[in-house]
Amino acid sequence: MTRRWARLLAHRPVWVTGLLVIAYLAFQLWAEWAGAAKLQAAGLRGADRPAHVELVLAVTPEPFHMAIFQDAGRLIAVRGQSVFLLDVPPDALRALAARYWVRAVRPWAGR
């Protein structure tokens, strides 16, 4: 049984695909975990309704990022590497926090 698996894995297309899939899944898992940790630190972890947040980024945002923010919630302001969003639904928030270029999430009063 293992001999058959070994022969299959020896084929390059198979192990390359396997490697890519494993790498992708591993990265997704890590990102989700890290995202949850960021939300935990912000006290927003189990949120079930839209929240106002400040996202502290590790980089200066570009149009690429703006498009992501605008899809997630209402983009109000950008100050340096901090972005302020209104009414971000919980799953969008989880997705945002999972991004590796988001350094931290902070709750925001909305003003």
């Binding site: 084929h11 390059r12 297309p13 390359v16 980089v59 690429f64 990022h65 991004r99 590796y100 270029w101």
Partner: protein, 264 residues
């Protein structure tokens, strides 16, 4: 085994050639004397590379491109093989369609894009349809030729042993047509990759092709070069990890790969 691989002559050649080109490039920058916008140095490109990864842009672009490419190639291949087998089995139908397919082959792939844009506007649909089209044609044509040129002796022999229609198709015809099918995959995948990059330049908002275009339009020429390098690396992986092994496997099983009526 890995150590031996690292010392292989081909790897050394590649590394050597790469080093030579990079050195020439870096040295030519002061000679050319133009700004970063016109002629970025390798260091500038490396920095842009790091920046694009830091900002999470490059992984998303590469993933989007790969997803569009892999999905379209898979669909196009499936359609091409299924229809190719179906049509190839009937000599009448293949004679009916062959000239028509040749005619459609003449239409340059990129020329479909304007029509698609008129119908569907700019966006992913245009890209995916184009790629499926690009992959479908060589797949369909080569499969059809492969199926038609299966020696009748094979089919008769298996039928004489009592095989039913489906068994004949699965066990004799498809395997015998496999070299041609693989050729179709290689041709289709190659054209589709170029088509992907071009279509993304024209009609997408993410992806490696879009990056190549966006770099220039945002005055970040170094990013354009990063995109070009990524494109080359992606093709390196696709060709060496998937296309060449498939081809090698067929040669190993069937000896010389004979391609019937290769279209230009």
């Amino acid at each position: 085994m890995i150590a031996r691989g690292l010392r292989s002559p081909r790897l050394l050649e590649s590394a050597g050639g790469l080093a030579l080109v990079l050195a020439l490039w870096q040295l030519s920058v002061p000679l050319v004397g133009l700004s970063e916008y016109f002629y970025p140095s390798p260091l500038r490109v490396a920095r842009a590379f790091a920046e694009l990864i830091e900002k999470g842009i490059l992984p998303v672009y590469v993933a989007d491109s790969l997803a569009r490419y892999a999905g379209s190639v898979a669909v196009g291949t499936l359609l091409g093989v299924v229809l190719g087998v179906a049509v190839g089995l009937s000599r009448l139908v293949s004679r009916l369609l062959a000239p028509f397919i040749n005619f459609l082959y003449a239409i340059v792939e990129a020329a479909w894009i304007p029509l698609f844009v008129v119908w569907w506007g700019y966006g992913i649909k245009v890209i995916v349809v184009l790629l499926v089209y690009i992959v479908f044609f060589p797949m369909f044509y080569n499969t059809m030729v492969g199926v038609r040129t299966v020696p009748q002796v094979y089919v008769d022999a298996v039928r004489a042993l009592g095989a039913r229609r489906w068994q004949v198709i699965a066990d004799v015809i498809v395997p015998a047509a496999l070299p041609n099918i693989i050729t179709g995959v290689r041709v289709g995948a190659g054209f589709a990759f170029r088509g992907l990059i071009f279509a993304e330049m024209l009609a997408a908002k993410t992806g490696v092709g879009y990056l190549i275009y966006e770099g220039v339009s945002t005055q970040h020429t170094a990013r354009t070069i990063v995109g070009m390098i990524c494109m080359g690396l992606m093709w390196l992986v696709i060709d060496n990890a998937y296309l060449k092994p498939f081809e090698r496997a067929t040669i190993e099983r069937w000896g010389v790969v004979v391609t019937a009526g290769e279209k230009g």
